[in-house]
C-alpha cells in the first residue's frame, strides 16, 4: 500500500526482504531439509499475510505451532463458557475471537447470544470491569484466555476488583503457559523439528531465559523473533546458521523488545494473583502438567469456576477434525480431509479455522490458491 508508516514499514521492506532471501538461499545446504516451527499464531499470520514462504528456498519448511490461544482451548472449556453465558444472571465478557469457536454440537457464543444470552465483546480486561460497575445487579464473568501476554492485564483487573470490592465480577480463567506447551511439542517424536522461532510478545514478558531448556534438554536452537515479516526472515537465517554449524543456543532477534529476564513487573503481578494448575487440558496436546493458571486462594472469591460450581468435562474432538495433529505440527492444514470443504471460516469444525492466528484459517484465507 502506498501509505507510509514510520517505525513499521522499515520491518516490511521488500528490498531488504529480497536481500535476506538471497542470503538464506546461499547458506542452506541443498541436500537437507530445515524444519522450523514458529510457535506463535502471530508468526503464522505474518508468514501467510506477507507471503514469506515465497521468499524461502524449498528446503526450508515452516511448521505452524500451537501458539494460538483460542485454538488450544479444549471443547469442554468452550462448553462451560456457553453454559455460563446461558445463565440469565450472567453477562459473559469475551474477546471477539472466542465468539465463533465451536463447542460440542457446533454450539458457539454467537448462537448463544442469538438465543438470548448476554455476551459482550470487549477489547481488554478493563472493559469487563467497567461492565461489572455498570451492572451491579448482574454477575459479570470475564472469559479470560491467552498466554503470558494477556495474563498480566487479567491479574490487574482481578486486583482492581478486590481493591474496589466489586462483588459481581469474576474470571473464568483459561490462561496458559508457553514453555510447557513447547515441551509438549518437543516430546512429540513425529514433529522432527530442527529449530524453533520463539514468541515475540510472550518473550517480552517471560524473557529469553525461559527457553534455555529447549537447547539444554532437546538440543534444538531457538531464535526469538518479532512479528514483522523481516523479523521472521532474519530468524530463519539465524536458525539456518545454527543448524549448519551444529549449534543449539537461544538467540534473540527481537532485541528491540525482549531482554533476558523479561518484564519483572508483569511476572510479579501474575505471581501475586495466580498459581499453577497441576494439569490442564490442551486441544491437540492433551493434559500438560503445570501448564495453566488459576486464581490464588487470596483471590478465590473472583474465581468463576468456584462461584458457579463449574467442573471440567473432557469432550472428544470431532472425528474428522485434524486440529490436534495440526497444533502438534505433525500434519499441515491441507492434509485434513475436511479442510476447505466441511470446515471453513464461516462454518469451522475445529478451532484452528477460527482465529486469524490459527494455521487452518491463515492457510485457507491466504494460501489456498496454492493447493488448487
Amino acid at each position: 500500500m502506498t501509505g507510509a508508516m514510520q517505525y513499521v514499514d522499515e520491518y516490511r521492506d521488500g528490498e531488504l526482504a529480497r536481500h535476506l532471501s538471497g542470503k538464506i538461499a546461499k547458506e542452506v545446504h541443498a541436500e537437507r531439509q530445515y524444519r522450523f516451527m514458529e510457535f506463535c499464531g502471530g508468526h503464522t499470520h505474518a508468514i501467510f499475510r506477507y507471503g514469506i514462504a515465497d521468499l524461502l528456498p524449498p528446503g526450508v519448511k515452516l511448521i505452524h505451532g500451537p501458539g494460538c490461544p483460542v485454538c488450544v482451548l479444549p471443547i469442554g472449556r468452550i462448553d462451560s463458557a456457553i453454559a455460563l453465558a446461558k445463565n440469565p444472571r450472567v453477562i459473559l465478557a469475551t474477546y471477539a475471537d472466542m465468539m465463533r469457536v465451536p463447542g460440542s454440537h457446533f454450539a458457539n457464543l454467537i448462537r448463544a447470544r442469538a438465543e438470548g444470552a448476554d455476551v459482550r465483546m470487549i477489547y481488554s480486561a478493563a472493559d469487563a470491569l467497567n461492565i461489572a460497575r455498570e451492572n451491579p445487579a448482574r454477575e459479570v464473568v470475564f472469559f479470560a484466555i491467552g498466554f503470558e501476554t494477556t495474563t498480566p492485564p487479567t491479574a490487574l483487573a482481578v486486583r482492581q476488583a478486590k481493591c474496589d470490592g466489586l462483588a459481581n465480577f469474576s474470571v473464568f480463567c483459561n490462561h496458559v503457559l508457553t514453555p510447557p506447551a513447547l515441551r509438549g511439542i518437543l516430546d512429540e517424536p513425529d514433529a522432527m523439528l530442527d529449530g524453533v522461532i520463539g514468541p515475540s510478545h510472550v518473550s517480552a514478558v517471560i524473557g529469553t531465559g525461559a527457553y534455555e531448556f529447549v537447547a539444554k534438554d532437546y538440543g534444538k536452537p531457538v531464535v526469538i523473533a518479532g512479528f514483522e515479516p523481516l523479523d521472521v526472515m532474519q530468524a530463519v537465517l539465524m536458525l539456518v546458521r545454527q543448524v549448519n554449524s551444529a549449534h543449539a543456543v537461544i538467540e534473540n532477534e527481537y532485541v528491540r523488545a525482549v531482554g533476558a529476564e523479561g518484564n519483572m513487573k508483569a511476572q510479579a503481578l501474575m505471581d501475586e494473583v495466580f498459581e499453577l494448575r497441576e494439569s490442564f487440558e490442551w486441544r491437540g496436546l492433551g493434559w500438560l502438567p503445570w501448564s495453566a493458571r488459576k486464581l490464588k486462594p487470596d483471590y478465590a472469591e473472583f474465581d468463576a469456576e468456584a462461584r458457579f460450581g463449574m467442573s471440567h468435562h473432557a469432550v472428544p474432538e470431532p472425528k474428522a477434525c485434524e486440529c490436534g495433529d495440526i497444533l502438534r505440527g505433525v500434519r499441515s492444514p491441507k492434509d485434513c480431509k475436511v479442510f476447505g470443504t466441511a470446515c471453513t471460516p464461516e462454518h469451522p469444525i475445529g478451532a484452528c479455522m477460527v482465529s486469524s492466528e490459527g494455521a487452518c484459517a491463515a492457510y485457507f484465507s491466504y494460501g489456498r490458491y496454492r493447493a488448487a
Binding site: M1, T2, G3, A4, M5, V8, R12, D13, G14, A17, R18, S21, F48, R49, Y50, G51, I52, A53, D54, L55, R100, I122, Y123, D127, P229, T344, P345, E346, A361, F364, S365, Y366, G367, R368, Y369, A372
Partner: protein, 347 residues
C-alpha cells in the same frame, strides 16, 4: 400546497420524537410538513400524495435500495442522512445509470432529539440537491424506546441507463485491468474512531460522496466499461471477490499500487484490521479492457472524486475465481472473502 396551521410549532431545539409522531395523526402531519417536506421541498412532495408520479422515457431503468443503520449517526465527514442519499445514488450509478429520483423511509426511536433529526434531514436535503436527485416520496415510523437505535433510514433510487450501455459484475474478462478511484478505508476508520469503546484521535474524514458525476465522466471517455462497483461493507477485498466470482475469473492485484492514507494504515495497524476489508462510501472499482485502461484512468484522475485513482491489477483466467495479491514484501497471498463481521453497523 396550502400550509396548515398548527397551534404550537415544533420545538426543534429541545423537542424529542414521541409516539404521536408516528401515529398518522396531526402530530405526524406536522412533523412531515415542517421538517421533511420543508427540507426536501420539490414539486412531487408538495402534491402531498401517497406516491410520486413522473413520466419515464423508453429504455432500461435501474432501481436500488439500501438500509442505513450506521452507529454513531454523526461521524467525521458526514452523518446517516448524507450517507443514505450517497449510498443509494451510488448503487444506481454503478450500472452507468443517471440517477433520477429517490425515496426515503425513516424508522425513528421514541425519544430521538428533534434537533438531531433536523441536522440529519438538512444534510440529506443538501446531499440530494448537490447530486441533483430529488427525494420524491417518503415514510416515517416511530417505534418505542429500546426497539431501535436512534434512527434507521432506507432509501430507494431509480435511474435511467444511457442507450447501449451494459455495465455488469459478470463482464470482467481475462486481460482486463482493475482500477480503484482513490484511497481505501477512509469511511470505516472515520466511523471506528468514534465508537464508544474505541475512541481515538484522528483527522480522517469519511469519504461519503455521490459518485454518479465521476461515473458520467468515465463513461463519457470510455463507453465500454465492463464492471463498476462501490466497495462499501467488506471493503475492496469483498468487492473484488464478488466481481471475480460473478464473472468466473481470477484477479491479481499489487499491494504497493493500492492507495491507502498513512493515517488509515496506522489506525488499521493499531486495531489489527486489514484496510482491504474496511468500508468505503465514496470510492468505486472499475474493470475495463486493457486497451481502455489508460484513458479511463486519466478520465478518473481529472475528476475531483478520482484524483488518487490507480490501476491496481489485472483479471486472469481462473476456474476457482481466486483473488491474489503480490504483497509489498515480495510474496504472494490470497485476498479472501471477509469471514464473520469485523465492523458491525458501518453504513
Amino acid at each position: 400546497m396550502k400550509r396548515r396551521h398548527y397551534i404550537r410549532p415544533l420545538d426543534i431545539e429541545r423537542g424529542r420524537i414521541d409516539m404521536t409522531h408516528g401515529s398518522g395523526g396531526k402530530a405526524m402531519a406536522q412533523l412531515v410538513e415542517e421538517m421533511f417536506v420543508a427540507a426536501f421541498d420539490n414539486q412531487w412532495l408538495r402534491q402531498m400524495n401517497d406516491q410520486a408520479a413522473f413520466a419515464v422515457r423508453q429504455g432500461r431503468m435501474v432501481m436500488a435500495t439500501d438500509a442505513h443503520v450506521v452507529s454513531p449517526v454523526f461521524f467525521p465527514g458526514g452523518n446517516i442522512g448524507s450517507l443514505s442519499v450517497h449510498g443509494t445514488i451510488n448503487d444506481v450509478a454503478m450500472s452507468g445509470a443517471i440517477p433520477l429520483y429517490l425515496s426515503a423511509s425513516f424508522i425513528i426511536e421514541e425519544g430521538f432529539p428533534l434537533a438531531d433529526l433536523q441536522r440529519i434531514i438538512k444534510s440529506m436535503a443538501e446531499a440530494a440537491r448537490e447530486a441533483g436527485v430529488p427525494i420524491v416520496a417518503g415514510d416515517t415510523k416511530v417505534v418505542e424506546q429500546g426497539k431501535a437505535d436512534g434512527i434507521f433510514i432506507t432509501t430507494t433510487g431509480i435511474g435511467r441507463v444511457p442507450d447501449g450501455m451494459l455495465i455488469s459484475g459478470d463482464r470482467a474478462r481475462p486481460g482486463d485491468r482493475i482500477i480503484v478511484s482513490g484511497t481505501i478505508g477512509d469511511h470505516g476508520i472515520a466511523i471506528l474512531s468514534k465508537r464508544e469503546n474505541l475512541t481515538f484521535e484522528t483527522a480522517i474524514l469519511s469519504d461519503t460522496a455521490a459518485l454518479h458525476g465521476l461515473v458520467a465522466a468515465m463513461t463519457d471517455r470510455v463507453p465500454d466499461i465492463h464492471c463498476l462497483r462501490d466497495p462499501t461493507r467488506g471493503g475492496l477485498a469483498t468487492t473484488l471477490n464478488e466481481l471475480a466470482s460473478q464473472s468466473g475469473v481470477g484477479m491479481r492485484i499489487r499491494e504497493s499500487a493500492i492507495p491507502v492514507r498513512a493515517e488509515v494504515a496506522a489506525a488499521c495497524e493499531l486495531l489489527g484490521i486489514d484496510p482491504l476489508y474496511v468500508a468505503n462510501e465514496g470510492k468505486l472499482v472499475a474493470i475495463c479492457a486493457d486497451a481502455d485502461a489508460d484513458a479511463l484512468l486519466r478520465a478518473m484522475s481529472e475528476h475531483p472524486l478520482g484524483q488518487n485513482a490507480a490501476i491496481i491489477g489485472e483479471v486472469f483466467e481462473d476456474e476457482h475465481s481466486f483473488v491474489q495479491m503480490e504483497t509489498a514484501f515480495g510474496g504472494m497471498r490470497m485476498v479472501d472473502w471477509l469471514a464473520g463481521e469485523i465492523l458491525p453497523r458501518i453504513c
